[in-house]
């Protein structure tokens, strides 16, 4: 039975990583809107992903307004790829068929 990455496996963090996987970077407002998480929750998940070196967080100011930029690190991209592979293996084991590892943008 393959082990899945617990840092990514949590639903909130999984959505964050999946969103960041197809882009270069996004800001906090975009992630807030697209994940539907609260500010506190999103902040906490981002901190955990940052601690695992899966995301790089850059704090800046736009005028006087704080601006947080988030991007997936190469480690984060590799971990997400691996996570999808492992989940596919698990699902294949259950269903006896491939569940579509690749998704084309």
């Amino acid at each position: 039975m393959p082990e899945v990455d617990r840092v990514i496996h949590e639903p909130g963090r999984l959505v964050i990583v999946a969103l960041l996987s197809s882009i270069k970077e996004a800001d906090f407002t975009f992630l807030l809107r697209e994940t539907g998480l609260t500010k506190g929750n999103l902040s906490s998940h981002l901190s955990k992903l940052e601690a695992a070196s899966y995301v790089h967080i850059e704090k800046a100011y736009r005028g006087k307004v704080p601006w947080t930029l988030v991007r997936l690190t190469p480690e984060g991209r590799a971990a997400f790829k691996e996570y999808r592979k492992q989940v596919n293996l698990l699902l294949e084991g259950q269903n006896g068929r491939s569940s579509g590892e690749h998704c084309r943008a």
């Binding site: 882009i23 996004a26 407002t29 975009f30 902040s43 989940v87 596919n88 569940s99 943008a105």
Partner: protein, 206 residues
């Protein structure tokens, strides 16, 4: 896994949500079509096809610049900022090849003294390609204008077939019509976006 695919495609859907890309590229299509249509209706000489291509390049670059300017001013403060991965060499090479072929073929076709049978079929065929591209954008990215653009392309294709419209003028009307439809829906979506989206603030806990 399918849900993960949908989630990872969401930034592309998000990009079109505010209507700015449809509005700007719709206007781009209309202007480009008009530039070529005007050039096509002028007496033939050696200069205008090149001027039209040059203008097309200027319009395309200006649209790209204008879209990013509008995104920064209107969309990003409201719905958040997203930057996409730079394109790889393959898509860049494909776009470059299409542009080179287009730039080489258009002056040749425009200078044709008369139009032959293939040019009458080529118009509806081009409309069919527009339909496929529009439906593809609808299915893959949930691009909301896809269905309308496909419908407009079908209508122009049928018109070209029935009136035996010449390939170039038919193609240009196709570009103008789809551009107009795109700009119209883009404008509508921008209006709704501005009415419903306030400027977002990260807050102290961000």
């Amino acid at each position: 896994m399918d849900d993960l695919c949908l989630i990872s495609k969401r930034p592309f859907t998000y990009w079109a949500q505010d209507g700015l890309p449809s509005l700007v590229y719709g206007l781009n299509f209309m202007l480009t079509g008009l530039v070529f249509l005007i050039g096509f209706s002028l007496p033939r000489n050696h200069f205008y096809p090149f001027a039209a291509i040059l203008l097309w390049g200027v319009i395309t670059l200006a649209s790209r610049w204008g879209l990013m300017k509008l995104k920064r001013r209107i969309a990003f403060p409201r719905s958040g900022y997203v930057a996409f991965q730079p394109r790889g060499w393959m898509p860049r090479a494909s776009i470059f090849a299409i542009l080179v072929v287009f730039a080489a073929v258009v002056p040749i076709v425009i200078r044709q003294p008369s139009y032959h049978g293939w040019t009458l079929i080529a118009g509806p065929a081009a409309a069919f390609l527009f339909v496929l591209a529009s439906l593809d954008s609808w299915f893959r990215y949930r691009f909301p204008d896809g269905i309308l653009l496909a419908g407009v392309s079908v209508a122009v294709g049928v018109w070209m077939f029935h009136t035996h419209a010449q390939f170039i003028s038919g193609l240009l009307w196709l570009v103008i019509a789809t551009g107009g439809a795109g700009a119209f829906t883009g404008g509508l979506r921008l209006y709704v976006f501005l009415r419903t989206s306030g400027i977002g603030k990260e807050g102290p806990d961000a």
